[in-house]
């Protein structure tokens, strides 16, 4: 009797194993990504806040319009810089393109306000190349647009370069028989990677709209700073912060709509990880000029980082750093690593479901994209609304709240990265395991995860780096004595010694670089076949 019941139970669990595991991941997506927005919107529906005081003056409207304009301008400049660079780095024979490409892309791994700080040490009034005139340009809307565009252009460059390597070589080869390289690029390759360009544009807009650090540092009024001021600054008025962020919901939905319309599943078709063994497009007489462009871009990315190290080296910045840094690096690394692990675990399950087209996967994918494109102030205020309760102090009052925030905002990294990686492998590996008698969990842990170990490591690393570079989400709810390094540097920047701030920023760059190098090394050693 007991054996029969046991068999029936086993049978039942096996029948629903896949759905149960996907449901657990869906709960993770719901808690981290949907709950903050859902609770905020439900609260508004039940008892609408008095938005009149927050929106009665013209200032919030001006700030919202200014932030939208700023994000649009940053996106445009990033595309103008990033698309040609993506082509040059990804498909041509420009000299030193690999090294230059890596140098150009490294700002993606850093909080943009660190780059602004670096540019300040170059073009600020007392900077290495600074004057009144350069300082005036830097501390203006144009300066903010340029700094952010240089920070986010590598997002475009890397997505375009990777996508170009995923294009079927025969498309390009057929075109080369009848057209010159430039026409092949413009007429064949760029249209083929249009979904990747659209994805990069949406990502850059979302990041630029949410950016808090650069506009505040460069004294440019922007919407996120207005929300931040009401939550922790001189204009402390949390009720108004709630009212202020609500109109941002349509922005998030619009970005999600654009992503669904122009990217969606097509991103899996073009964002290939295949190594390209075909010949690179020969630039001929344009090679010298193109190579110069690539290296200028690399220089522009490297200059602010070098300036930080240079400034830190003056005036004992590194020597004094220990007295100022506290536990900030530890806080950032621990919360980032835990969040990256959660993101990777949920990403494995949901990404696998997306790659294999399982029921419900598209909805989960849309929800994680929604959380990413939601302006950080809206997501941050939602997180505060959900978790800032006496019963939830063990979460809200500790580093756990940083994990919650990071996991919500950057869940898309795990899901999309692993969906792309898994969709490139044959489903027959899993089908063979199923036919051999393996249930879903055994297939997931015994086949899918080990076969994609390199992809998992890459997703974890990418998630960690994005958590480490986050300022705009964490600054809204970091716990007492639990600020990560980005927040520590940002708060010190206003009144701390300049060399120490530069040294802290340099240390953050070094920690991020170390994480990237160690992670890449482990990933290259950890995967077989």
């Amino acid at each position: 009797m007991a054996a029969a019941v046991g068999r029936a139970l086993t049978r039942f669990l096996r029948a629903y194993e896949q759905r149960a595991i996907l449901a657990v991941a869906a709960v993770g997506v719901a808690v981290f990504c949907v709950l903050p927005l859902g609770v905020l919107l439900a609260r508004v529906a039940l008892s609408p806040p008095d938005a009149t005081s927050a929106w009665s003056s013209s200032r919030p409207w001006i700030l919202a319009a200014r932030s939208t304009g700023l994000a649009l301008a940053v996106t445009a400049v990033a595309l103008v810089v990033g698309v040609p660079l993506g082509v040059l780095v990804g498909r041509t024979d420009a000299a030193g393109r690999r090294v230059a490409g890596l140098l150009h892309v490294q700002p993606v791994f850093l909080p943009p306000f660190l780059l602004a700080l670096g540019w300040f040490h170059v073009f600020g009034r007392r900077g290495a190349l600074g004057s009144e005139a350069t300082s005036a340009v830097l501390f203006s809307e144009a300066g903010a647009i340029l700094v952010l565009a240089l920070a986010f252009a590598p997002v475009v460059t890397s997505l375009v370069a990777v996508a170009l390597n995923g294009v079927d070589p025969s498309l390009e080869e057929a075109a080369r028989l009848v057209a010159r390289p430039l026409r092949v690029i413009a007429g064949i390759l760029l249209p083929a990677v249009a979904p990747a360009i659209a994805l990069s544009a949406i990502a850059v807009f979302a990041l630029a709209f949410s950016e808090l650090g650069v506009p505040m540092f460069l004294r440019v009024d922007a919407f996120p700073s207005a929300v931040f001021a009401r939550l922790g600054g001189v204009d402390y008025a949390p009720g108004e912060a709630f009212a202020l962020v609500l109109p941002l919901a349509p922005v998030a939905l619009a970005l999600l709509g654009l992503e669904r319309r122009f990217v969606g599943r097509r991103s899996f078709a073009v964002l290939g990880l295949r190594a390209s063994e075909r010949d690179r497009l020969k630039l001929g007489r344009w090679r010298a000029a193109a190579s110069a462009l690539v290296w200028i871009a690399a220089g522009l990315s490297g200059a602010p980082v070098l300036a930080l190290f240079w400034r830190a080296g003056q005036g004992d910045g590194f020597a004094q750093m220990g007295a100022w840094v506290g536990r900030a690096p530890w806080n950032g690394l621990v919360s980032g690593a835990v969040a990256a692990t959660l993101i990777t675990l949920v990403g494995l399950i949901v990404g696998h479901a997306v790659a294999r087209g399982l029921p419900g996967s598209r909805a989960l994918d849309a929800l994680v994209v929604l959380a990413f494109v939601t302006p950080a102030p809206l997501l941050g205020v939602g997180i505060i609304d959900v978790w800032n309760r006496p019963a939830l102090r063990p979460v809200y009052g500790t580093l756990a709240i940083l994990v919650v925030g990071y996991a919500g905002r950057y869940m898309v990294i795990g899901v999309r990265t692993l969906a792309v990686v898994i969709s490139q492998s044959s489903p027959q590996l899993e089908e063979a395991a199923a036919v051999a008698g393996a249930g879903f969990l055994r297939r997931l842990t015994g086949i899918v995860a080990p076969v994609h170990a390199r992809g998992l490591a890459f997703a974890w690393l990418l998630a960690l780096v994005f958590c480490l570079r986050d300022l705009e989400t964490a600054i809204l709810f970091y716990p007492p004595a639990g600020e990560p390094t980005t927040v520590r540097i940002f708060t010190l920047e206003a009144n701390g010694p300049e060399p120490v701030v530069a040294a802290l920023a340099s240390a953050h760059v070094a920690i991020t670089a170390a994480a990237v190098v160690v992670g890449a090394w482990r990933a290259s050693r950890g995967a077989r076949g």
């Binding site: 049978r11 044959s426 027959q428 036919v435 008698g437 393996a438 249930g439 086949i447 076969v451």
Partner: protein, 263 residues
């Protein structure tokens, strides 16, 4: 005796396009049936329905008398059907050793470690891969990978083995050797086999009966001799005519010499 595999009026459509149209076919226990047809005729889809990887739009699939799929539903999931498969690209798990590839399914079915090791070693010895337990698929030659794939399929003594054009990517000499090995293995285990191919020579070398699929329909089932004598459609006639060898001859053995089919 109950049929090992029975398909009853199975139909399938993918993305609105009909793929299989009311296919009925039975495979007796211990019998080898070749499923033959041109690309796009629905051979692989039919195999996937039997495996439980796809549900039929209509009709039913039975294994040993038990209905396992019916009318858009997979009633018994793939992992509980006690079947084995060799895919066209073999789908060897690249992160597992040869022994790991064979042992994975045994472990999933709860076979204890010692027995798992013994059965794996015996199976590898049988296919001529003794000593290769610790090698990875990436370190093997094409022929060795084929042997691992068939060993993996047979090691857990499945109810039936389904092979989806497993020899389409190997050269003629190797194909002949592997066909002989497959035939021996199936014969000594009295295995029930469905062998998908688009090559009539391959089909005649390994199968007692051949089912011809054309545009999603089974147009004729019979021995190679019957197909030759009474081709049911112009397509079957063309298949017979296109063969490099006469219909009643097959390739066997090391010499590769033609041998008479026993009907």
């Amino acid at each position: 005796m109950r049929d090992a595999i029975a398909l009853d009026s199975v139909s399938l459509a993918l993305r609105g396009q009909p793929v299989l149209d009311s296919v009925s076919l039975v495979v007796a226990p211990g019998e080898t049936v070749a499923l033959l047809g041109p690309s796009g005729s629905g051979k692989t889809s039919l195999l996937r329905i039997v495996l439980g990887l796809v549900a039929p739009l209509s009709g039913a699939v039975s294994l040993d008398g038990l209905v396992v799929s019916r009318e858009g539903r997979v009633l018994l999931p793939p992992e509980e059907r006690a079947l084995a498969v060799v895919f066209q690209d073999l789908a060897l798990w690249p992160h597992l050793t040869v022994a790991g590839n064979l042992g994975f399914g045994l472990a999933a079915r709860g076979v204890p470690g010692t027995e798992r090791r013994d059965r794996t070693e015996a199976m590898l010895r049988r296919v001529g891969l003794q000593g290769s337990e610790k090698r990875f698929p990436g370190e093997l030659s094409g022929g060795q990978r084929q042997r691992v794939a068939i060993a993996r399929a047979l090691v857990h003594e499945p109810h039936a083995v389904l092979l989806d054009e497993p020899l389409s990517n190997v050269d003629v000499d190797l194909r002949r050797d592997l066909l002989e090995l497959f035939a021996e293995l199936f014969r000594e285990r009295k295995a029930t086999v469905v062998f998908v191919t688009h090559d009539l020579r391959e089909a005649s070398a390994i199968a007692g009966r051949v089912a011809i699929l054309e545009a999603g329909r089974v147009v004729q089932v019979g021995s190679v001799g019957e197909l030759s004598r009474r081709p049911a459609t112009p397509f079957v006639q063309a298949l017979i005519d296109d063969r490099a060898l006469p219909a009643r001859e097959i390739l066997t053995g090391d010499s590769g010499r033609p041998q008479q089919v026993s009907e």
